[in-house]
């Protein structure tokens, strides 16, 4: 339901943008898709996110099961910033978590964490 609302909102924004500038909307969408694809690559990379070590996510092979499956993410994290915060430093929510502090320990760069967030938010 919420997803539908968001889609409708997005659609109306797009229409509005489209009305203002015929080119802006489609290229923004293409850019988002590229970010998501890059985010996915970084998330799956064993030397970077290696999220599959612990999470079932998307179509990733042989996922571990230490963490919860990453599905219905927009329902669980309506606020994208909260999702990014969880990926950046999961210790804020659970100080003893086994999930690595990707941001503070410089395991992944800030801009790569942004990209991963974009990808995970689509799951």
């Amino acid at each position: 339901m919420r997803k539908l609302d968001r889609l409708l909102a997005a659609a109306s924004v797009a229409t509005l943008l489209g009305a203002l500038n015929m080119i802006a909307a489609p290229s923004a969408v293409a850019q988002d898709a590229a970010l998501v694809a890059e985010g996915k690559k970084i998330a799956f990379n064993r030397r970077k996110g290696n999220c599959l070590a612990c999470h079932m996510m998307g179509d990733g092979d042989l996922p571990g099961n230490i963490g919860p499956p990453l599905i219905a993410m927009q329902a669980r994290f309506p606020d994208k910033a909260a999702l990014r915060a969880q990926i950046y430093d999961p210790r804020t929510k659970n100080p003893r978590t086994i999930m690595p502090p990707f941001g503070p320990h410089a395991i992944i760069s800030d801009s790569d964490i942004d990209k991963i967030t974009e990808y995970v938010w689509t799951l």
Binding site: A53, L62, N94
Partner: protein
Amino acid sequence: MKKTMLLVSAVCMLATAPFAAASTPEEDMQAFRQYFKDRYPNTPFDDFQNGVYSIDASRRIEWESMEEFPPYEIGLEIGQQAFEKPFANGKTYASCFRNGGINIRQHYPYFDAATGQIKTLEGEINECRVKNGEKALKFGSGELAAVSAYMASTSNGSRINVVIPNDPRALEWYDRGKQHYYAKRGQLNMSCADCHYHYAGYNVRADLLHPALGDLSHFPVYRKKWEARGNGPLAGFGTSHRRFNGCNKQVRAKGYGAQSDEYKALEYFLTFMSNGIPINAPGVRQ
């Protein structure tokens, strides 16, 4: 629904702090044992000697078929020959150990009150060599691990019986090992306990994490991965310290050397946690 349950159970696991403050080693050990007994009610106590195979039926079948033609057999024979072969001075390893070195693995490591040090079986094998005018062997793998594996195999069936005497120096070694086990470390910020206590039985990718109860009962191990990387019938052997080092590095932490004080302390703590489990060495592992 299942998702919420997973989350809830993960949170519960982390909420049960392993040990209350200021517990004695004996209390720690009882709690450690009970935790795994409760978690794996279908695994008989003695069977924790089999690491990951004590909790997973399909991997166990693969492993049992591997044990039918044990890949370590030739290497173990070489270890036995090296153990029995006289040094240049005519003496053998048997002269350095109680009971001629047979059926003693279960008492290692131990606290030596005279020196205040922790003595491991591998450490004493090399001490014996040096005392008899031979060169020390490289720790961690190769011939040393093969001799140790042979000696350990003569203890098969005997129960681990590590003693923590009431001596502040012994307790200090114990606490150091315990600290190493529970401390988060490395760039990935994980503790040994994260993987082999809290999340034992879960999968990291396709690897199933073994329960820590019974650790050291089957060491040195014969590992297919090491075998494939090296040459000859001894390549697969590795001591517990070799494995500790690998597990430290896996979380991008600093690894310590075989027979470093840090790993001796860790071995002391971890073997004590498995008191009562029968020795079953060498274990074959992937």
